[in-house]
């Protein structure tokens, strides 16, 4: 219903659609989430001057995936008319990524 809910969900979907993103997470002591009536989206923070997306990757190397996440989120924000900058935080790398050959990109 609320715009925050819609935007956070859209950001989440777009981020998960990027190959190499395992899931969104908030592993820090302070939870990163967007709160709205009836629920929250963990790993997406819309409340600041910068939109934050916290991800766990399952593919190495990190930079290309991170920049694709950045692009995807930017697109969503642009579509919603939100001019804020994006910050992608890689919270963790899943074990799968380390087992696979880094160059192979499973």
């Amino acid at each position: 219903m609320s715009t925050d809910q819609a935007l956070a969900t859209a950001v989440r979907e777009a981020t998960l659609a990027v190959p190499g993103v395992a899931w969104l997470a908030s592993t820090a002591a302070v939870e990163v989430a967007t709160y709205f009536a009836g629920g929250k989206v963990v790993g997406v923070r819309l409340a600041g001057d910068t939109v934050e997306v916290h991800v766990v990757l399952d593919r190495l190397p990190v930079p290309p995936v991170a920049s694709r996440v950045d692009q995807a989120v930017r697109q969503v924000l642009a579509a919603a008319g939100d001019p804020r900058p994006v910050r992608v935080v890689v919270e963790d790398v899943a074990d799968v990524a380390l087992q696979a050959q880094p160059a192979g990109g499973s």
Binding site: V30, E31, A33, Y35, F36, R45, A47, G48, T50
Partner: protein, 180 residues
Amino acid sequence: MTDTGAKVPNRGNPTGSGGQAGSAGSPGTASTSPRATGESPGGTRLVTDMGKTQISEAVVAKVAGYAAREIPGVHSMGAGMARRMGQLRSLVPGGVDASRQGVSVEVGEREAAIDLDLVTYYGQNIVDVSEAVRRNVFDRVQTMTGLQVVEVNINVDDVYVEGEGNGQNGGEDQSQPRVQ
């Protein structure tokens, strides 16, 4: 994480007024023409040529109370002793409605001001949570009652720590022996 604290004070203002800036500015001008027609936003349709609609404080308080609780970061509502007494009182038949716990409102003909007392969870960004609460209360009260919400003041009264009864560190020492 560290820059959150710095960002947040700036953030409080733009959203507090910014979220509703378009309509929040208008009631001042709207109230100069008391018998406004239904066109202007917020509250004006409550006072018409054919009569007034009056919404009691109880209604606004109830709506605001439920709206605040809809946000997952809100543990409970009410300040200190009143919160504990309220939990008792709500068990008594015919007692005070628990949904109004921690809510105080002022309601005029077309405007409402709301004060909330919240308890949040430890580990959450309190500013983010209260921002979400404020926005939801604004939305719900304005859409359900038609009153123009002038302000939503939030007083975070306490932080709920899980396992607080066992001590400050969540009682991990007691729950599991360190040596086996």
